[in-house]
């Protein structure tokens, strides 16, 4: 081995150490950057050269800079993130509405229903007592108010879920476009290894897609990412399709998600993410509202019918206690009859038209409805109790799901971080290591130089 060759070998050591320091610097600089994947300098021994019978080593060489990315860990992170965001969005949406049914502040929808029958029972003591009559009207109004608050709250909740989901669709489309564009650019640059920064940006966009719509991601052999939503390819190579929101072609009256395809658009289901969670919450809220409407409509209709069979102190037949809306939610449109609100004497407690003030014969029919199976085979108060229990169960399940999926997502994030995140302590060690290697290589060059100088001085 010649001294000149030693100089060259020492130089290779300087280059490797310098690349290592540069890579470490890049890692340290980006340690707090969201989505940055740790880089490592791939170093190997340089190919030896043959001099006569001897193979001479040529030092070390830098093969490239690689990203510490694991597609399987990443795919698991996307899946778990989508699930966690869906469960979290659903739980948040349901929890907002839950206190309208029953809360620590004393709100109790079921209590207002009981209040009607309590007031009617009190009126049996003196059907002519204006105070007791006013008490009945007040109980009817309280129930109507509670139904209105609950009905409009549920309607607003449903509308909020839909608009929140739709607002996220634009973000999803922007990310689908970005992933497709980055797929192209990464392929042009020679794959994710060669275009680490672009691959990081694509991973970030894929993370947002998982968060927003729970997209599934498959990394192809060429390094491109294929994105699937609801089983349909939304990004394939450099082509992105568009997610839209349209009225359900099946006529459910709901807005559904669509994905543009060559022949038009297909209806898709969000696999998870915020949109998936919002839509799941919307389903639950619609189901609660439906049960509530059935309850309110049955109670109002049956009370009206029983009241119509009675007579007022003036001998007139009983009018409606409640008016129900012609369309839309019975709960949010329920009103106490205006004539009744103006005059509690309109209450028809008597069983005859004789106008006897103590006649409360019709009260027993009205009170009897409390124990009648008038709401889908249940007593009204039992139906209300069942609805509240169902709300509680749904919220509890959503909470448990949010907790468990969150734990899974954190675990996946932890696994991915341990593979891909920058550890500053580790980088400090690398820095020391490369510094020492650089100093050693420099020393080799210095010693070789001095040796050569000594040799030259002899000449």
């Amino acid at each position: 081995m010649s001294l000149l060759n030693t100089l060259s070998t020492g130089l290779s050591g300087l280059r490797v150490a310098s690349t290592g320091i540069a890579t470490t610097t890049q890692n340290v600089s980006n340690a707090t950057v969201q989505g940055f994947t740790r880089r490592t300098a791939d170093v190997s021994t340089a190919d030896p050269i043959q001099r006569g019978l001897v193979w001479l080593g040529q030092g070390a060489k830098v093969d490239g800079i690689s990203r510490a990315a694991d597609p399987f860990a990443l795919a698991r992170l996307f899946d778990s993130t989508g699930d966690a965001n869906a469960a979290s969005a659903e739980h948040a949406a349901l929890s907002q509405i839950e206190p309208l049914f029953e809360s620590a502040m004393g709100t109790s929808f079921k209590g207002t229903l009981d209040g009607i029958f309590d007031a009617l029972t009190m009126a049996t003591a003196d059907p002519s007592d204006l105070g007791l009559r006013a008490n009945v009207v007040s109980a009817l109004q309280t129930f109507s108010d509670a139904a209105n608050v609950l009905g409009t709250g549920l309607e607003a909740g449903i509308a909020d879920r839909a608009s929140s989901a739709l607002a996220t669709v634009d973000l999803v489309n922007a990310d689908l476009e970005e992933v497709a564009t980055l797929n192209d650019r990464i392929l042009e640059a020679g794959g994710p290894g060669a275009a680490a920064d672009l691959a990081d940006r694509r991973d970030l966009a894929l993370t947002r897609l998982a968060e927003n719509i729970g997209a599934s991601v498959y990394f192809e052999r060429d390094g491109s990412a294929t994105v699937r939503i609801g089983g349909h390819a939304a990004v394939s190579g450099g082509v992105a399709r568009t997610v839209g929101a349209e009225d359900d072609p099946l006529g459910s009256g709901r807005t559904v998600l669509t994905l543009s395809v060559d022949e038009g658009a297909v209806v898709i289901q969000a696999d998870g993410g915020k949109i998936g969670g919002e839509m799941a919450a919307q389903d639950k809220l619609e189901s609660w509202l439906s049960d509530l409407d059935t309850l309110v409509e049955s109670v109002a209709t049956e009370l009206n019918a029983a009241h119509a069979a009675g007579f007022t102190p003036g001998g007139a037949s009983g009018g409606d206690l409640f008016t129900l809306p012609g369309s839309g939610s019975a709960a949010s449109g329920l009103r106490v009859d205006s004539a009744l609100l103006a005059d509690p004497e309109s209450l028809a407690f008597a069983s005859t038209s004789a106008g006897l003030p103590g006649d409360g014969g019709n009260l027993s029919s009205l009170i009897g409805l409390q124990d009648a199976a008038i709401v889908n085979g249940l007593r009204p108060t039992d139906a209300a109790s069942q609805l509240v229990t169902r709300v509680g169960t749904d919220v509890t399940r959503a909470s448990a799901r949010a907790e468990s999926t969150q734990a899974t997502a954190l675990d996946a994030a932890e696994v991915y971080s341990n593979l891909s995140a920058v550890d500053l302590d580790e980088e400090a060690v690398s820095l020391l290591q490369y510094q020492a290697a650089y100093q050693a290589a420099a020393k080799v060059i210095q010693v070789t130089d001095e040796t050569l100088n000594a040799l030259m001085s002899i000449i």
Binding site: F101, A104, G358, R390, V391, G392
Partner: protein, 294 residues
């Protein structure tokens, strides 16, 4: 296995997740400690709401029944007093009848007694028309008007109204005056007949009326007993209802209340854990290898 221990982003994510997890438990724990109630919302214990609602409904029912018991007691106690006075009036009339059925009394005395009996009859009509507030007590459910006119004709209704004082337990709160005052014997006619016999100075006719007067007295006493019986039933129901309300309140408390010791301990534990997590989070960004490199 590689563990990333010093990365601000990863570290803050871990800390945030842990802090949020504790904070999520702190909210309901604080609510339980403040309100003293373990079941503040449906999701606190979904399976228990059916039982809680059942207890609440029964508890509220007792309050309603006690209201009705109060009203019934007002009516029945006044009716009892009135019928007591009415029986006194009839007893006085009967005693005067016995006294004046003797041949030893002269015409002037009987004429004066006739006037006295007329006044007693008027007093009895007044008692039968007693009102409680705007209610005529003995007019059945036609209580907006007088029960009897001056001639003793019944103006009320024979129908009566019941107040619900318990599950399947009703008590009549309107009294059919025709049954009390004219059920077997027309007490007003009996007094009118006595007045007429005294005015006619006819001791024999007075003697003949004595059994009728006694029957009239017994009839009113019987009416009073009936009212007393109802009152006794209401009193019994009051005791049962108050006991039931108290028991339901206890059961409702047991079903919904948070154990104070447990609630405060849980809150203290979580608060301490949260504060510790905050301190650990702050300390975890302390000395690192880079700080030691010189």
């Amino acid at each position: 296995m590689r563990i990333v221990n010093n990365n601000p982003v990863v570290g803050s994510r871990r800390s945030t997740a842990q802090l949020q997890s504790i904070a999520a438990q702190l909210v309901p724990a604080r609510e339980r400690a403040i309100t003293g109630i373990a079941t503040n919302r449906p999701s606190d214990a979904p399976g228990r709401w059916g039982a809680i609602y059942g207890l609440r409904e029964e508890h509220e029912n007792q309050a309603v029944y006690q209201h009705n018991i109060g009203r019934a007691t007002d009516v029945l106690s006044v009716a009892d007093d009135v019928l007591g006075s009415a029986s006194n009036v009839l007893q006085q009339a009967w005693e005067r009848g016995i006294q004046l059925s003797s041949e030893s009394w002269n015409t002037e005395t009987r004429t004066a007694a006739a006037s006295e009996i007329r006044e007693l009859r008027e007093e009895l009509v007044g008692l039968a028309n007693t009102r409680l507030g705007d209610r005529s007590l003995f007019a059945g459910d036609a209580w907006g008007q007088a029960a009897f006119d001056d001639a003793g004709n019944y103006l009320g209704s024979t129908a009566t109204q019941s107040a619900q004082i318990g599950k399947g337990n009703d008590v009549l709160v309107a009294i059919d005056g025709s049954e009390v005052f004219q059920g077997g014997v027309d007490v007003f006619s009996a007094l009118s007949d006595l007045e007429a016999a005294l005015t006619a100075d006819d001791p024999a006719a007075v003697r003949d009326l004595l059994p009728t007067l006694e029957d009239a007295f017994q009839q009113v006493v019987k009416g009073r007993q009936e009212v007393g019986y109802r009152q006794a039933r209401v009193d019994d129901t009051t005791v049962v209802s108050e006991g039931l309300a108290s028991m339901l309140e206890d059961r409702l408390y047991t079903a919904t209340a948070a154990d104070p010791a447990q609630a405060y301990t849980e809150l203290a534990n979580l608060t301490t854990t949260y504060e510790a997590a905050l301190q650990v989070t702050a300390q975890s960004s302390g000395a690192k290898l880079f700080d030691l490199l010189r």
